[in-house]
Symmetry: C2
Subunit: 384 residues, 2 copies
């Protein structure tokens, strides 16, 4: 059993257990997460698109199960290790959203595809040499390997650079008897965090037009693009318009972090999803005049997108600053009349960026109000 | 067995195995790390100070054992989890460098101190209330609990704010029969990364004078300050002068990252320690005109201190940029005539900041030249 579970497991069901946790502890507000899962499922259903949520956000079989139970057709994974964990956990419809290139990754892919039911493991491809390598390796399978062609929308992080390249590669896949062409991936990471709604909307509309053009051209050539997958939490409402995409890969909506809450607020309307992920810290030093020190630093919160935001246990106007590997500096607002948090007091934060923050923790502490109701492992933490 | 070991273990001893690793993979250049360990041990011996290296850098029992074998008197740990792992691994002289405050942490501390030999677990304190809590809990021990008073040098992250507070707290410790006063901690994190040597030197000299003053005053009062602990890799050569400190807590010297290599270079002279820690990635997409995409991103490299620096496999003038959770953008210098790295090619990087980068990985891949010679777990990864 991993350490976080050993230390905090005796608190499950104990009244007020949330306030006795060994810190720092990653928390899920279960009712809030459940509402997020249900809301996105209902939204997708109403729009007539499928949902294949990205598990790089949570890396948890338990949460994937709940997403599938609410209507998701499967999950998206960026690493082979995430896909292995999900297949092992019995999750169907696993799409690997990044190419499997090295001999080691291809070998793991083939073993995984053989272990899963046909069609339950799919991978994207963006390169003819990689396609040939996959086709050769797929010779070991008792069924064809399912492949989607990746289009380099937005960042051009992975994916074919042009429509012509997409069609060329799709034709090569279709011609390989050991591969089965399933569709197109077009994920525009660059659009997800544009806070200005008009700008995000215009950019997403332009991408939908491009994607629709590619899909129409492929279908004219008789290529099977049944699946058109993409979209994140920041564009889920835009990418589900006009039937350009058949499914959404949004992931962060289950938790919502400080960044996405800003993106999805729309004028006076707050985000349709609630923050359900928090980190609880404790105050470990109180000797400075202008701050207290809490026990969460750069090994507890990701540092790529700003700083944690106080949610509970301290004045909301307090500011956090990173203060080394295991510490944070919590500075009350100079205007505040409230006393500083006391030694040992618990302070909870909204995470600056949920995905890489979750990856720093071994376990979720699942709470309902003041009660710890379960501890779930972050199953695919660190899995490549 | 953890996943990284499963995947790469068959490559141990295989010629050229370093170039066949499942990626991304954290690498240790064993001869370079061994030289660093020996050099710091010889340096401390020559200066007549002890060495209690900080294991927050490596979180590895195997590396701690090698440091102790080379002459270290023990290890420093910032979290209780690190200390538990080290005691479990048989490492002596474990100093916990941050206060243990919550009931959970105090309870773990007491269990750990009872399990270790007397004197092999020590903790710092900076607050009278915490001292009282420790003294009460130490009533369960069959030997007194070893305590150092923490002085808030530099950052004032933890520690007493003034000499008067240090002496007051030390007197309280000395008066508690269940506690044993061992000395003073004064760690100045703010000095470690000052690149300008003159400036770092002047600031360290001022701190040494303050520390010497505190220690002299304590000794005049008959307080036992046998241990005076502090110093990091950035100030090890400064803090070992004039007998202000009895021991050094430096940690990063075993690996050296991009940041510390800049700090320790002295005019024409390179750093006395070599980079021994690398991350190997593979190229997974090559469709963009101006970059290739490698499979290491924000879940592979810490983002708090700049970007990874190319060490091997690509033109040294290439630049890395973070490109999402699992990807990096590797941009060749526009002036370079060399071809871009090919699909599947391995590119190795120096880490921007070693401590939080190590904490993202489950295992070290230990190499000598092109051969993988061992895989070591990052034992205390994620342990709080």
């Amino acid at each position: 059993m991993f350490q976080d579970q050993q230390v905090n497991a005796p608190l499950i069901g104990v009244p007020g257990g949330r306030h006795l946790l060994d810190t720092p502890a990653l928390l899920i507000d279960l009712p809030a997460m459940t509402r997020n899962i249900e809301r996105m499922a209902a939204f997708a259903k109403a729009r007539g698109v499928s949902l294949r949520p990205h598990v790089k956000t949570h890396k948890s079989v338990e949460i994937a199960r709940r997403q599938v139970a609410a209507g998701a057709i499967g999950v998206s994974c960026v690493t082979m290790g995430e896909a292995e964990v999900m297949v092992q956990g019995g999750i169907p419809g696993v799409l690997i959203t990044s190419p499997a290139v090295t001999p080691s990754k291809i070998s793991r892919l083939i073993r995984l595809a053989q272990r899963a039911r046909p069609g339950d493991v799919m991978v994207v491809v963006d390169n003819p040499q990689n396609l040939a390598d996959l086709a050769r390796a797929a010779g070991e399978l008792t069924h064809p390997l399912d492949v989607l062609v990746d289009y380099g929308a937005g960042y051009n992080r992975t994916g074919c650079a042009t429509q012509a390249k997409v069609l060329e590669l799709a034709a090569l896949v279709a011609a390989e008897p050991r591969l089965r062409l399933r569709g197109l991936q077009s994920y525009a990471g660059n659009l997800q965090h544009i806070v200005a709604r008009e700008e995000r909307s215009a950019a997403a509309a332009a991408l939908r037009e491009t994607v629709a053009g590619i899909v129409a051209a492929a279908r004219r050539q008789g290529l099977n693009f049944d699946i058109v997958t993409g979209a994140g939490t920041g564009t889920h409402d835009l990418d589900s318009q006009e039937n350009a995409f058949t499914e959404l890969q949004a992931g962060s909506y289950v938790f919502m972090d400080a960044e996405y809450s800003r993106v999805l607020a729309n004028g006076d309307q707050p985000s349709p999803f609630e923050t359900s992920l928090f980190v609880q810290t404790a105050v470990v030093s109180t000797n400075a005049a202008d701050w207290v020190t809490v026990d969460g630093g750069t090994k507890c919160f990701s540092t790529d997108s700003g700083v944690p935001v106080v949610a509970k246990g301290a004045d909301a106007a307090s500011h956090y600053a990173f203060f080394g590997d295991e510490h944070g500096k919590l500075m009350p607002s100079p205007a505040s009349q409230a006393p500083k948090p006391a030694l040992g007091a618990r302070v909870e934060f909204v995470t600056p960026h949920c995905d890489p923050t979750v990856n720093l923790h071994d376990a979720y502490h699942v709470v309902e109000g003041g009660t710890l109701v379960a501890i779930w492992p972050v199953d695919a933490r660190g899995r490549r």
